[in-house]
Symmetry: C2
Subunit: 436 residues, 2 copies
């Protein structure tokens, strides 16, 4: 079996389906314990502890924290010295991501009532944000753009990047992406120690207000632990793609779209839903034919075998209903007239409409963010965006006349809650009462 086949008509579909989409959210308590110990140590000993852990885990021999610092100039130089095709591709992607995210900027607003009372919401960029970038093979320049650009567009004053360099040499594409996305300060450190340094601050690295970006289990545990001291983004699970196809897209395209998710990780999930059983056969055949040529064939094979599926449905409508229960990170509606079905999808991180809109275009350069809710969290959460780097503040300015009117309302409700200072504070502003 290269990929499991289900049919919504099968008697045991419900059971097999729920087994397929079960989310393993278990956390290794030993990793949590070790990550938390590192965080507490960095909190206590600062730079000294960061230096020790970095030398130990990343096989470095640094004498001081300064050796880990990369300046804005270092990042710009990385961009300038890239091969021309990479430089241009990165610039095009950065420009498109920037331009899309500019539409996401929240605008302050206020309303003024007849009595002069003004009420509104002010949008304010965060002061400082820390971006975690994994080292080694999983160091994705596209993720640097996707994480840092919305912060940059939001107007965050200070964007710090950390990226471990266990081999010693930083990935030039990653540094170039950082230069394009407004990063001006970078440290070649990683792991729980880097998260702790950004959360609590050290002598070398001033604390930030929020930490974003993907990382391994230690990084995730450290982020969870420091949450509250700083803000964090979501903790991402394995990547997922769900393709709904009417059978009219080239089966090789669909097979490759499934591969493009499966190649990330053996735990990634790639699912095809189609009402066309013959098309299902064709995609399976294409998977078998194309797989041997893929550079990451072992990972793809394991992912498809463990967590992949082709599900034959009654109709496109039924496929949309099944997809909604999965709430996938990425959903391709590879059908003719996708607009007819788009509104039937309520739960997905990103929706890709039509055969030409493959997920990979969204991953790199279409413009929308590729950091998306996984593990069914699209039911209640959203892509990373400028909204994650602006906060809102309520602003209230009640007029004398307004205070008189509202004071009586607050008074009644405060007494109903036995909060008499709230009541007195409101009634002090009621002018008739003052005159008594």
């Amino acid at each position: 079996m290269i990929i499991r086949r289900l049919n919504t008509k099968d008697a045991d579909f419900a059971a097999k389906f729920s087994e397929l989409v079960a989310v393993d959210s278990s956390v290794d308590p030993e990793i949590t314990r070790r990550a938390e110990a590192i965080v507490e140590d960095v909190r206590k000993r600062g730079d000294e502890a960061v230096l020790e852990y970095t030398n130990r885990f990343d096989h470095m021999d640094a004498k001081s924290m300064e050796e880990f610092l990369l300046t804005e100039e270092d990042l710009k130089k990385a961009l300038e010295t890239l091969p021309e095709d990479q430089k241009q591709a990165l610039k095009t992607a950065a420009q498109r991501i920037r331009s899309f995210h500019e539409h996401e900027i929240g605008q302050s607003w206020s309303i003024t009532e007849k009595d002069g009372t003004k009420l509104g919401i002010r949008y304010i960029p965060l002061d400082s944000v820390g971006l975690y970038v994994p080292g080694g093979k999983a160091a994705y320049p596209s993720s640097v753009l996707m994480n840092a650009m919305p912060a940059h567009v939001a107007g965050v004053g200070r964007i710090v990047m950390v990226v471990p360099t266990p081999g010693g040499k930083p990935n030039q594409l990653v540094l170039a992406a950082a230069a394009l996305a407004g990063v001006k300060e970078c440290y070649t450190i990683g792991g729980a120690q880097a998260v702790a340094a950004m959360a609590y601050g050290t002598k070398t690295i001033p604390a930030v207000d929020k930490i974003v970006g993907p990382g391994n289990a230690y990084v995730a545990a450290a982020k969870r632990y420091v949450f509250g001291t700083v803000g964090i983004d979501m903790i991402a699970g394995p990547s997922e793609i769900l393709v709904i196809c009417d059978g009219k897209t080239n089966p090789d395209w669909i097979a490759m779209d499934l591969f493009s998710q499966a190649e990330h990780d053996e735990l990634a999930q790639a699912i095809l839903l189609t009402p066309d059983a013959e098309f299902a056969d064709k995609v399976e055949e294409s998977i078998k034919r194309q797989l041997p040529n893929m550079s990451r064939k072992e990972i793809i094979e394991a992912s498809l075998k463990n967590r992949g599926a082709i599900i034959v449905t009654d109709s496109i409508d039924e496929a949309c209903r099944v997809a909604d229960t999965i709430a996938p990170e990425h959903l391709e509606l590879s059908v003719e007239e996708p607009e007819k079905y788009a509104d039937k999808i309520h739960h997905a991180g990103a929706l890709f409409l039509g055969a030409y809109t493959c997920e990979a275009l969204g991953d790199y350069c279409a413009g929308p963010n590729h950091v998306l809710p996984t593990s069914r969290t699209a039911r209640y959460s959203s892509p990373l965006g400028v909204w994650d780097f602006q906060k809102r503040m309520s602003v209230l300015q009640v007029s004398k006349e307004g205070a008189e009117k509202l004071g009586h309302v607050a008074d009644v409700l405060a007494r109903g809650e036995f909060l008499t200072a709230h009541s007195a504070s409101s009634m002090y502003r009621v002018s008739e009462l003052e005159k008594k």
Copy 2:
């Protein structure tokens, strides 16, 4: 000492100030352990466990879950049978909160590029939300309005409320507020068991997608534990007020504003910043004079003594800078021409401008939400709002021409990340290549 006095000029100000504003975010591991055990038990045994824990902790003798159900009719009846002044005050507050929050509704948008490529963001209400309401004395009808109304305005399909009734009798004001805020389903259960029931679902209570609302340490621990399975709102710390006053507001008003926060909780924090040392004396005198008349004088006294302060500053400008480092939940700028200073404040949950805008008006009926970031989290987080009950989905529809252009960009970047299936998937959409 009724309240501590600091002066920014004092040699030991920095040390005393950081002691004053230190946040104790420690969590009792024993409470966490017990809450998690209850959650896991409810996850396993469902209704049976909820029934057992509710009977045990709330001293009930229910035979079945049905006894905990309150229907939409029960809620409406509670509203109808309220005393007229309470009914009117609640309706006015509900209407104002609704009307303010309607401005917060996120609107879907999309842009169309020259080549026909369409990119955008769709806003979608959550399917279902659970609202936790504490029982007993801390059952605040205003909190029901503030938590449920934004969900209702967002268009959430199902809003479930849980409220424990350890005495047996539910608070009629709470039920009435629920009726006004679109709650149609209510259970008189509470604690970690209620959180677990809403997160995982039981036979009687279908699972929700997000849980909001304040609760005790068990509820907070349970919410933290189920996060990921469902969304949660922030975990609130003790309430805080910071008043900046130029000395021109009636000192009795300011003293009462400090009381209105202090009366919540012995751990609540009330701080006055003023450049006018004589005014500081007057407020202190007013505190001494008014305190004995307050119904919650013991709580107020403890709060002011433990965590309160009057801080004399150099200027209003300096007061704004000090306030910004505290990032308080509520900030009153009780000065003449508050507009001159408002933009100097970057970190606060809600900003109250001018002497007539006391916090209590915002707590009950001005319109903006009273669920606000505490414990310095206003540096990176926002008031509760419609944005917490709508999620966003990216929608991409790349045209044939757009795919050709973007495909080459994605191809270069994907190869830079050694993700060749991403590259092949993109290049399948490049038409020149197809012709080869």
